[in-house]
Symmetry: C2
Subunit: 394 residues, 2 copies
């Protein structure tokens, strides 16, 4: 064959829907020499990862660990373990990831009751209450906390109250929220939660932190059908990630766990509240700067994510051309809209390590130049000043 | 909380059942800065990975790519896509991974017909023929090429002939064989194959290279039930890994793909045949050296793997004590026996980068010292000389 050249990878500022940029020490952790998945040094590290994940999820759940796959594997982990054929699942659908949950739940043989909302809006507690009233014996309610496809943040507490009142369990997608805004698993009485590493944890993609409440584990123990996935069966995974003797299940992704360890360590060193405040601050800066460029964030007012911003594309602008110029001329990745929002928004991520005033300013300057070239009247200097001023408020 | 210290990872010579040691350039690839999973640079790299995987599997199968999970996810990928409820699956069980295949197939709703053999022995074509004769309409036959739990290598060609004669598809586990000994997917008419990155490819664990024949894809297209796993549904994965426009499915593990790219590149640079010959040579060296220490490889004669050696534990020796001393005093990991072989064998891996004469000699010297301390009469010098002489034969 013609020999293939060593990999050349461009440098990017990752301001899309994820992955975000990983800090240097997280990248460095990935290149540590390998040890075995049953090595005492690795087992000790697993304990630290579990302890740190409990702090980040703000939970005491024993069953808290990273699934060996990306966020969608974590989603599937929750549903295959909690659902059995014939179970009723009430699922909030206000974007791509709500749709995906409904798809995954249906593949588990569940009867899915969708609670739909316009993309960009939140799932309202009333709509959940109505769906629960229609169900015979709902097993669970599932919602996406931070919809990566729309930039909307659905409040959890009232939905949780309604869910438990109906005798159901609550499943929460925190792929984009964890580490970027408050996520309180025990306070909110979430029974099953999954996340991803490549968003606000700023770790490369490849693992999905999950946590199951004791109630969820009881429901697993009471199953009458085997879990349809061997790879994601929590009872088998517990024998490897649990507290007793480590029994081989599958070979854990060693290097990915090194990186997760380092990224969680950095997060706790910064402090959860400080990390959340940093995300809020740079969202505010972006918002202020965009306004000066005549742009706005289009997801539901009062429920806009700090870490993922749905920026409306101005009339007459070809969003794909702008995205391509950002990538090719400025090395900046932003995301496209999906589904009904295709062509209508850019998705601008300010997640984890990427959430900095420098990055906000770099994006505003690049966007200003491109929009100016496209004939829009923009004042970049004002945009930068507004962003800087907004970030300075505490 | 008490802050958690940065990771400290000991250096190990990984001579267990995997992971093997990764070469420096593969580890370095893991720490490259991230790009997005739809970045043109990443998409170009995906094409190179697919092309290189086809060369390593020796196949023209269009549908050849890495699943975003470890080897067991690749196993599940093959079964969930090929099996529907009620299908018959004939599965060879001569170790842990055959058992696992039977478990996974049953979770797909299949009727499993097990073909069992003693652990350490191969699956005989006659036994497959007998099972196929008993089946009504067998959908597939599945065997483990290289049983990592026993060190036995089952020949594929005759079983493939019988399988296709019966109108069934052949599924092959090459987790431990790929890159370490001949694997010829097209010549052997294998319909579905999976592997792992952390064995003879010498890449960190976390991805599972798979390949499906056109016949397997036709069977997927003819399904009447949806694939029970969303994460592993090949029709959805094809929209991301296929040849058309890249449609987002899940966020690929970026860094793991960097590492796989580099490890495949190194493999093809060495040459497949050279790589196989290296594995054979160092197996021979280990075999000769062990003989001088009074030790032998216990899996079926004539079918012993080069890359994973089942070494019999001498009477009166506590295998766990020896393993612990190897790890703690010499930094060498070897594997324990599993199932009926627990306490009876050590599993000594010589996989990928780990397969070197230096490593064989280092292990023989350490093992000789430990066995001597335990009162066995051993001559380390003779063992080293025998290993060196055996490796010199070409």
């Amino acid at each position: 064959m013609n020999s293939i050249a060593a990999l050349r990878i461009p440098e990017r500022i990752l301001m899309g829907p994820g992955p975000s940029n990983a800090p240097p020490s997280v990248l460095a952790a990935m290149s540590r020499p390998l040890v075995g998945h049953l090595d005492p040094a690795f087992v000790a590290m697993m304990e630290e990862i579990k302890a740190m994940l409990r702090q980040v999820f703000i939970t005491r759940n024993e069953m808290t660990f990273p699934v060996s796959g990306t966020g969608s594997a974590g989603m599937e982990f929750c549903f295959v373990n909690l659902l059995e054929p014939g179970d009723e699942a009430v699922i909030g659908v206000n974007g791509v990831f709500g749709q995906r949950m409904a798809d995954v739940a249906a593949r588990c043989g569940a009867t899915v009751i969708k609670v739909e909302a316009e993309w960009g809006r939140i799932i309202e507690p009333d709509a959940i209450a109505t769906a629960l009233a229609k169900a015979t014996r709902p097993k669970l309610v599932a919602i996406v906390h931070a919809e990566t496809s729309t930039g909307a943040l659905t409040p959890v507490e009232e939905i949780s109250r309604l869910t438990h009142q109906a005798g159901a369990m609550l499943v929460l997608d925190t792929v984009t929220s964890l580490g970027g805004c408050p996520v309180r698993i025990d306070d909110w009485q979430v029974d099953a939660v999954y996340s991803g590493t490549q968003k606000c944890l700023s770790c490369p993609p490849g693992l999905s932190p999950v946590s199951l409440s004791e109630r969820a584990m009881q429901s697993v123990r009471a199953r009458t059908h085997r879990v349809q996935s061997w790879y994601l069966d929590v009872s088998l995974l517990a024998s490897y990630w649990g507290d007793g003797q480590r029994v081989y299940h599958h070979t854990a992704p060693i290097s990915m766990n090194y990186a997760l360890h380092e990224s969680l360590r950095l997060l706790l060193e910064e402090g959860l509240e400080n990390r959340w405040a940093r995300h809020e601050r740079h969202h505010r800066a972006l918002h202020a700067g965009l306004a000066m460029l005549g742009l706005s964030i289009v997801s539901q007012t009062g429920h806009q994510l700090w870490q993922l911003n749905a920026v409306g594309v101005p009339a007459g602008v070809d969003e794909a051309v702008v995205r391509a110029r950002l990538l090719n001329e400025f090395g900046i990745e932003v995301g496209a809209g999906l589904g009904p929002l295709k062509g209508k928004i850019w998705r601008v991520g300010l997640m984890g390590h990427t959430s900095s005033l420098d990055n906000v300013r770099t994006l505003l300057a690049a966007l200003g130049q491109i929009l100016g070239d496209a004939g829009q009247r923009v004042n970049v200097q004002d945009a930068l000043a507004a962003a800087t001023a907004a970030a300075a408020v505490d």
